[in-house]
């Protein structure tokens, strides 16, 4: 664990690239774009090595390194990944080059834009790989600043309001987490920020609850769980396309990831006490997010609210206390990253063609841009959870996992799936079918080569995970089991073997 590994290269390659880009001449926009693309592709390539080196059977942290940073304060640079963080890292490195492609049309302050985007990537990768609470907090906060600028400088309409709201909401939560982290530091013996060393620290029940709430404040804002979600529609809607993609696909996952990486293992008893509350919030998020998405008139805002609903599923799965729920929640994080990322890209493409996001301004696009329409439908179906596409696998596992312990909670959750079909298909219908709302909708260019390149990898993965999720699930499962065992809930942790069960309720519970 002592020497640096490919994982560390993955974390820091983007920021090194950002520094190099800083020295490129500002007016050579094309060069800067290609450089940014090259950096992110290289990062992805190195992350593939991490993926191949990863031992799928182990539930331990692996491939990490450990260096002293501030020994006087027990602060170390400790990294490492398990089956959860592995896919988060891969998701980030995979989507980043595509986001760069989606940003190809940015013509304003190109250099600073890509510097912020690359710095953001390092921040996100650091969050998923840190095993030292100090290091984790640093990366966690570091993601705030580039995203703040991305929204505020390259966003749309109310970008400043959205950027401020994003920053302040997240910061308020994070600072409460910081207080909890410092408390943990002093509770440890010897005082340390190292996650694995703190794990065994005995804490009084009341203290544990307060500390859990401190962490929860930060993560719940990020996920976001209703009622901490109000920053999300603004930030997602006003951000530039790549910003929305990164927000939805990765930044939200940081919240859910934090809950299971730190929330549950550090404070298992407190987490268990709060399970009903968190599940209730998750279910409210599923239904509320979907209902609000239905009535949106702005296509991008609709996609933004759909994230609230989908992240509800993720959190639900993580806290039901079953292996299936946890694995499903984690896989759903990946799936949501892919589908919603693609949806934001598609909305961005529509905006570039029509300079509007209002659903009412579209209509009849299926005739003018058939390929785009087809892709949109494909991605929308994946987001809805159509069997055979990626969204189904995660949602199904979450629902099955929930059913075992909390039978009746499945009803509203499954209802959320139906609502998803309503808002996405209805949006598809209004945008692509029917008569065009104006003549401007005619004669638009269809998907170009760059756009095809940025969407194709996502489409392939969407289908791949839908048909053959095993490579993903088998790496997730050991870690998922470990976390569920730490939560140590009251109910059953595993779905009973069908052979041992009397035929009956399980068969009809598919959720669709």
């Amino acid at each position: 664990m002592s020497d640096l590994h490919a994982l560390d290269a993955v974390i820091f390659l983007p920021v090194i690239g950002a520094i190099v880009i800083g020295f490129l001449p500002t007016e050579r926009a094309a060069l800067i774009r290609w450089a940014a693309l090259a950096v992110t592709l290289a990062t992805f390539a190195v992350s593939l090595k991490v993926l191949f080196d990863f031992d799928p059977l182990s539930d331990d942290f692996q491939l990490g390194s450990s260096l002293e940073w501030i020994p006087e304060w027990g602060i170390n640079y400790i990294t490492g990944i398990d089956g959860v963080s592995l896919w988060m890292v891969m998701l980030t490195t995979f989507l980043m080059p595509l986001s760069i492609l989606a940003s190809w049309t940015i013509g304003d302050k190109v250099k600073v834009y890509f510097i912020f985007l690359l710095a953001l990537e390092t921040g996100m990768l650091g969050v998923f790989s840190s095993l030292d609470l100090f290091l984790f907090y640093v990366f966690w906060e570091v993601t705030l600043v580039p995203m703040y600028f991305l929204i505020g400088m390259w966003g749309y309409g109310r970008r400043i309001y959205a950027a401020m709201k994003f920053f302040l909401f997240t910061l308020a939560g994070s600072l409460l987490m910081l207080v909890a982290i410092i408390y943990l530091y002093f509770a440890g013996d010897p005082n340390t920020f190292s996650f694995e060393a703190i794990l065994g620290t005995p804490l009084a029940e009341g203290t544990q609850r307060l500390l859990f709430l401190g962490f929860f404040a930060s993560f719940a804002v990020k996920v976001p769980l209703v009622p901490f979600h109000t920053w999300l529609p603004d930030a997602h809607t006003e951000a530039p396309t790549a910003g929305s993609v990164m927000l939805a696909a990765v930044l939200l996952k940081m919240g859910a990831y934090g809950l299971i990486r730190f929330g549950i293992p550090l404070f298992p008893e407190a987490a268990r006490d709060f399970v009903p509350w968190i599940m209730a919030l998750a279910i409210i998020g599923i239904v509320y997010g979907a209902l609000v998405a239905i009535v949106q008139t702005d296509l991008k805002r609709l996609v933004a609210y759909s994230s609230v609903a989908h992240l509800g599923f993720v959190v639900l799965g993580m806290f039901v206390g079953t292996y299936q729920g946890m694995s499903g929640g984690i896989l759903q994080m990946v799936s949501h990253g892919l589908s919603t990322g693609a949806l934001f890209m598609l909305v961005g493409m529509l905006y570039e063609r029509r300079h509007t996001r209002a659903i009412a301004d579209f209509g009849g696009l299926q005739k003018t841009v058939p390929i785009l329409a087809g892709i949109f439908l494909f991605v929308a179906l994946s987001s809805i959870g159509l069997p055979g596409l990626n969204g189904f696998v995660g949602e199904f596992l979450v629902l099955v996992g929930t059913f075992v312990g909390y039978r009746w909670w499945v009803v509203p959750a499954a209802f959320g799936v139906v609502l998803a079909a309503i808002y996405l298909l209805w949006a598809y219908q209004r945008v692509f079918h029917g008569p065009p709302a104006s003549d401007e909708n005619r004669g638009l260019p269809d998907v170009g080569l760059r756009e095809a390149l940025m969407l194709a990898p996502i489409l392939v993965l969407i289908a791949f995970i839908g048909i053959y999720p095993k490579p993903f699930l088998e790496r997730i499962e050991p870690s998922a089991r470990k976390i569920v065992d730490q939560l140590d809930g009251d109910g059953p942790r595993d779905v009973p073997d069908p052979a041992e069960v009397e035929p009956g309720p399980l068969a009809e519970e598919e959720g669709h």
Binding site: I70, E72, L144, G152, L171, A172, L175, L176, V179, I182
Partner: protein, 500 residues
């Protein structure tokens, strides 16, 4: 009665002496120069040499000092310990940056003369004495020395009515708070029979406050608590603690920006040094009595500073309220009453000082000749006009907000940590929320700089080499004390071995 003279040990106050001599020399030397040479390069040069000498003198005795307890000198009036040395070096560095910045500032505003430098040097000397004073009388003398120098410096923009007004306000309120402090000293003397913090054998004041507290039953110290309250008022005024903060926005706004930065950095460091020595060391045994008062002040200071800054439209006033809030954050370390709290506070004050000097350097540069451009609207699109300047100011603002990758984050960590450790997690939660509120107005400045287009007729911003150097040093310090804060914190820790 034969007067017994105490042994003259000037070593402990050598840095202060060096500065005072330099200041006097500067004034006299300049008086003999022909008129056209009066504003020459020799002024900042001599001042710089004086400050460097004082740093060398202060640093020189660091290694010789005993690890525990102060080495009392000059009849027990002056404590020569690492705590004092740490603060003195910090103050001298602030002084250096102020001198360099002031050079360009005074030239541009046609205010150059030797008084500016002499006053800064006197102020630094007074502040240094604050840090090492072991007797309330010395504390008072030090307080007045640097305060009077600062009253003049605040009103240094002679053509500006705002500057005159703020100097007057600062002076009147300052004099008012000094009387509280003096009254506190009188009460302390009346109760304990001494004004000395430690008490020195064979000096006529064998019994200092520390000894008084150890020999007196706790029930008999009631009046001393009142006296301590008065002392806190006097020092609280200097650190801009609520409710003694009223002067801060006005004085900060009216003073020349280099001086404002110096006040924010230096005055806070000096006054907190005196406060830490008084409360956490000398009155340690009385901590349960003074702590409620300090807790109230801490909460009020953090919240008022953060909330009132939100509605300000002038960058100097925003930073003034922010400096109030920062005083509140330091108070969280004061209530911890342990070594770690004291070293945390020292670390905080030094890193905050470097950051805030940098921030005010940019304010001075952007403000233009007569500092007419300090309103928020003048910063519109600064990123498009001067990208590096905007980047540096953002760095300072993020540091003030306590965001990682800046020293401000570490500073928050090392003051919040001891407070949590001492059982004041609730206070730190309030501090965290106040920081979140405070982030709003730092972001507001960044919004204006990055997310709004510059005006067509925006005035040219000239950054001289010295101002550039000061901003660069401050920016470097802000980053370095994040990445490698261990060594500085280590020094702060070595400086504060009061309890063992």
């Amino acid at each position: 009665m034969p007067l017994e003279l105490p042994p003259v040990e000037l070593g402990a106050i050598a840095p202060e002496l060096a500065l005072s001599m330099t200041a006097l020399f500067l004034i006299v030397f300049n008086a003999f120069l022909p008129k056209k040479m009066k504003g020459g390069w020799h002024l900042p040069l001599i001042a710089t040499i004086g400050l460097v000498i004082s740093i060398a003198l202060a640093r020189g005795s660091w290694i010789d000092l005993p690890k525990n307890g102060p080495d009392l000198q000059l009849a027990g009036m002056v404590a020569n310990d690492r705590f004092a040395i740490f603060v003195k070096v910090g103050l001298a560095v602030f002084g250096l940056l102020t001198i360099w910045l002031g050079r360009e500032y005074t030239r541009r505003a046609s205010l150059e003369n030797s008084e500016f430098y002499a006053l800064v040097l006197f102020a630094v000397a007074g502040m240094m004495l604050m840090a090492s004073s072991a007797d309330l009388i010395v504390t008072f003398i030090a307080l007045e020395t640097f305060s009077i120098a600062l009253y003049v410096l605040v009103g240094f923009r002679t053509r500006s009515l705002v500057s005159q007004e703020s100097a007057m306000k600062y002076f009147l309120l300052g004099a008012f708070s000094s009387t509280f402090f003096l009254l506190g000293i009188a009460l302390v003397y009346g109760i304990t029979g001494s004004t000395n913090l430690y008490g020195v054998a064979g000096s006529g004041s064998e019994q200092g406050i520390v000894q008084f507290l150890t020999t007196t039953p706790p029930t008999d110290v009631g009046l001393l608590v009142v006296a301590v309250g008065l002392l806190i008022v006097g020092l609280g005024f200097k650190v801009a603690a609520v409710p003694f903060h009223m002067w801060t926005p006005d004085a900060y706004q009216g003073a020349p920006s280099p001086v404002t930065g110096f006040m924010a950095a230096g005055t806070k460091l000096a006054a907190f040094a005196a406060l830490l020595r008084l409360l956490d060391v000398s009155l340690f045994q009385l901590r349960d009595d003074w702590r409620p008062l300090v807790l109230i002040i801490a909460v009020a200071t953090m919240l008022v500073g953060s909330l009132f800054a939100v509605v300000q439209e002038d960058v100097k006033r925003i930073l003034a309220y922010s400096s109030i809030a920062h005083a509140g954050f330091v108070f969280t370390a004061v209530v911890a009453t342990n070594d770690r709290g004291i070293s945390g506070a020292l670390f905080y004050l030094v890193t905050y000082g470097l950051t805030v000097v940098g921030a005010f350097a940019i304010v001075a540069v952007v403000g233009g000749r007569d500092e007419l451009g300090t309103r928020l609207s003048e910063y519109r699109g600064l990123f498009y006009r001067r990208p590096l300047l905007a980047a540096a100011l953002s760095l300072f603002l993020l540091s003030l907000a306590g965001v990682p990758l800046t020293s401000g984050f570490i500073a928050k960590l090392v003051v919040f940590g001891p407070a949590i450790d001492a059982g004041y997690a609730w206070l730190v939660v309030i501090g965290a929320l106040a920081s979140a509120i405070a982030a709003f107005f730092y972001l507001r400045i960044m919004v204006v700089m990055y997310m709004q287009e510059p005006e067509e007729d925006a005035p040219e911003i000239a950054v001289g080499p010295l101002a550039g150097a000061v901003i660069g040093i401050a920016a470097l310090a802000t980053v370095v004390f994040f990445l490698a804060w261990g060594p500085l914190f280590d020094l702060a820790e070595k400086a504060t071995i009061f309890f063992s």
